[in-house]
């Protein structure tokens, strides 16, 4: 006790002053995209050359959920202060799966660990079942289903939740957050601004983002992982997800440096221009609203500012490499000279 007292006095301006205990929170965002999971059940079995209904079960959501439970439970097991939060996202909606939001299953306080496992598993399973049945009944009405999932809503909600836990934590307790996104569907790029705001908030709160991608590679998640310093893993076989989760994502950021972890993915940070949605290496940016254009135009289409004149810096550099002053003057004086020369020549020709 005396030691902790001394450290608090000694290092008053560092953030970690007087930390007595650390609790870790893992937020798992699970993509429940219906069309992907149903496709997966069919194609996964065919790809591996098995056609029996038993084998195709290996690629079902229920089977993967079981594997995710193994992961969640082992995470709870490795440290008593570990907590998990599970969010599900489906197309444009996000749901808290655990802790449960409904009034029916209020969290019963029970200290024995197996009970805690059961609580998490049952709550998640129940909520997933409810959501999917509700969604499937809706699906029959409008048969339009997409592979796109918007996980950004779930992401920002999880940040708010971690923020709340950090706020409510007793003095001396440090709350570390981490977010793991298990994504199946395709990216939806329509929310890029929300996405960037959320990622930078995570970066500021020192929350690492991990991504486990079951479907196509996700550019958004690659950026998120790179900006927050997490890990990105693409899993080809969803049936073996438990192994990946338990070997790669079980450990929190502090312990990761001691283990061999997957290499960082190279991320494409080129900007897409506002005019043609083309990725550009050199673009033109409006000084007022920072819109990116691939070709210079007379005015900004986003904020309607009329640009004064084009590329002042570039024109300056085109001048001869002499002193700054003469370089600025010469472009205006040269054309004038040429004109007089031309008129003289014309006169000569005429006479």
């Amino acid at each position: 006790m005396a030691m902790t007292g001394l450290t608090t006095l000694g290092s008053s301006d560092t953030g970690a002053a007087g930390v007595e205990s650390i609790s870790n929170i893992l937020v798992v965002i699970l993509d429940l995209n219906i069309s992907w999971w149903s496709d997966q059940m069919e194609s996964g079995a065919i790809r591996n050359g098995v056609s029996s209904s038993h084998a195709s079960q290996q690629y079902s959501l229920a089977f993967s959920l079981d594997q995710i439970f193994i992961f969640l439970n082992s995470y709870l097991l490795i440290q008593p202060n570990n907590k998990v939060v599970v969010l599900g996202c489906l197309e444009s909606q996000s749901y808290f799966l655990y802790p449960p939001t409904g009034d029916a299953s209020g969290p019963a306080i029970n200290d024995s660990r197996p009970e805690a496992f059961r609580m998490v598993n049952e709550a998640v399973l129940n909520s997933v079942r409810n959501i999917l049945t509700r969604e499937l009944s809706k699906e029959t009405q409008n048969s339009e289903s997409s592979h796109e999932t918007v996980f950004i809503g779930a992401l920002s909600r999880s940040l708010c939740y971690i923020h709340r836990l950090q706020r409510e934590a007793p003095k001396g307790q440090l709350v570390n957050g981490r977010v793991l996104v298990i994504e199946t569907g395709l990216d939806s790029s329509s929310h890029y601004m929300h996405f960037i705001n959320t990622i930078f908030t995570a970066q500021k709160m020192n929350i690492k983002m991990d991504a486990c991608v079951l479907g196509e590679d996700s550019v958004l998640l690659q950026q998120a992982v790179d900006l927050t310093g997490g890990l990105y893993v693409k899993v080809d076989n969803a049936a073996g997800i438990a192994q990946v989760l338990n070997t790669v994502f079980l450990l929190d950021a502090d312990e990761r440096s001691k283990f061999v972890v997957p290499e960082r993915v190279q991320v494409d940070y080129r900007a897409a221009c506002f005019c043609h949605q083309k990725l550009v290496e050199v673009g033109f940016v409006c000084s007022v609203c920072l819109s990116v254009f691939c070709v210079p135009g007379p005015m900004c289409t986003t904020c309607n500012s009329v640009f004064k004149y084009m590329l002042p810096q570039k024109q300056k550099r085109k001048g001869p490499l002499t002193n700054g002053k003469t370089a600025e003057v010469s472009p205006s004086s040269q054309p004038a000279k040429r004109k007089t020369g031309e008129t003289q020549r014309e006169r000569n020709g005429n006479s």
Binding site: S92, H194, R270, A271, F284, Q313
Partner: protein
């Protein structure tokens, strides 16, 4: 001087009527003041949010000089442990916050003491350098009188050459009540106004006429800190980009979006230009290559030293968009409006709200309800509404 004071709509605080601040607090039914105090605190927090004006043209490419008073008055102990330490601590936070919110902005620090002005750091986008410089000031002793004119001149020397599409700003942190100037300071203020330099002053002691004039002439802000938390608020108000000046011109700026090159390409011999001046330049590490001249840099954003192209990454630009498209303030729901059938949990943090105690706030766009803490968190840090973020109808 008198003419300036008269023209002001609002006089000095001590000339206005006596405020009975304690009468705002009302005891609740249980005789406790806590809820009343809570209301006042919440009111103050939210007022800041509501004051923000959206859809102004903002000067996004900021060039800011901080002028720090290091005169003898900074040794005063009215801020704990003393003025200098308190200001330096807040300044570190300010710099971090500034670069977080304005990733393509640039900042420089000028100190003034003993009637002189010294350039502590040049205008640059590297956050670490500035913070280190500020930390190094902790060992210096504040001395003599400050010189407002000298330090403004030093700042103006650099700011004058910044292209006119960028915003030029000076924030003066001024503890002294006097200034020792070599010439007529009104010439300096006129020069600053003509050059579109926005000067704001944060005072630590009392109102000083010349600071007030300076801020007014250059359409900046002038604030006197009451205590440490007020000082922080005054300082942090300069984190958000200011509205663009009336005479500014709009330009298209050529920028490069370099790609980080993979490890395998680095078999080729390459070194970065940002660590050249250090005893051991960095070889063979991954970096960003300028798309025009292929020079390598360790970090973005940076201005290419070879071809002068501004190199940024797309997330840096996108990071600044929230200033232009802020989240609209949420509507407050009074306890009477909340019907018992509705979900009484905050949408994003699941905290259960008792309608009689904790106020709820509703997003106008997605109709979700949030608690006060999430409301503040969303507007001050997150800058995007969790309800709208998932909503396909209102994409950002």
């Amino acid at each position: 001087m008198a003419a300036v004071d008269e023209s002001d709509q609002q006089g000095y605080r001590w000339e206005t009527e006596y405020e009975r601040t304690w009468e705002v607090l009302q005891e609740d039914s249980a005789g406790s003041l806590t809820s009343s105090v809570q209301d006042v605190v919440q009111g103050i927090k939210r007022r800041r949010l509501l004051e923000k004006k959206p859809n102004l043209r903002l000067g996004m490419m900021r060039h800011l000089f901080i002028i720090l008073d290091l005169s003898e008055t900074m040794r005063d102990q009215d801020l704990k442990p003393n003025r200098l330490y308190c200001v330096l601590k807040l300044l570190e936070k300010f710099i971090a916050e500034f670069f977080d919110q304005n990733p393509i902005g640039q900042l420089g620090i000028i100190t003034t003491r003993n009637k002189r002005a010294d350039r502590l750091t040049e205008l640059a986008g590297n956050q670490k350098k500035h913070i280190e410089a500020v930390q190094s000031l902790k060992t210096t002793t504040p001395l003599g009188e400050p010189s407002l004119q000298n330090s403004l001149d030093v700042a103006a020397q650099t700011l004058r050459h910044i292209p006119s599409h960028a915003s030029r700003e000076i924030v003066v942190i001024f503890g002294s009540l006097t200034s020792c100037d070599p010439g007529n300071i009104y010439d300096t203020t006129n020069m600053l106004r003509e050059n579109n330099v926005r000067c704001s002053v944060v005072g630590l002691s009392a109102e000083v006429s010349i600071c007030k004039t300076l801020a007014k002439e250059t359409s900046g802000e002038y604030g006197i800190s009451l205590d440490e938390s007020h000082l922080r608020d005054l300082l942090m108000a300069h984190v958000a980009p200011p509205p663009i000046g009336p005479n500014s011109e709009y330009f298209l700026i050529r920028m490069g979006f370099p790609q980080q090159k993979a490890h395998e390409r680095l078999d080729e011999f390459s070194f970065c230009l940002c660590h050249l001046d250090q005893p051991e330049p960095r070889y063979g590490q991954p970096g960003y290559f300028c798309p025009v001249c292929l020079s390598k840099y360790c970090e973005l954003p940076v201005e290419c030293k070879v071809c002068g192209l501004t190199l940024v990454s797309a997330p840096h630009l996108a990071r600044s968009y929230h200033h232009l498209f802020p989240v609209e303030p949420f509507e407050e729901i009074t306890p009477e409006d909340v019907s018992s059938s509705q979900n009484q949990r905050c949408f994003s943090c699941l905290v259960e709200t008792h309608s009689d105690k904790v106020a709820l706030f509703k997003c106008k766009a997605c109709q979700q309800q949030f608690c006060i803490d999430c409301d503040l968190f969303i507007h001050e840090v997150l800058h995007s509404c969790p309800g709208c973020a998932g909503n396909p109808a209102k994409s950002g």
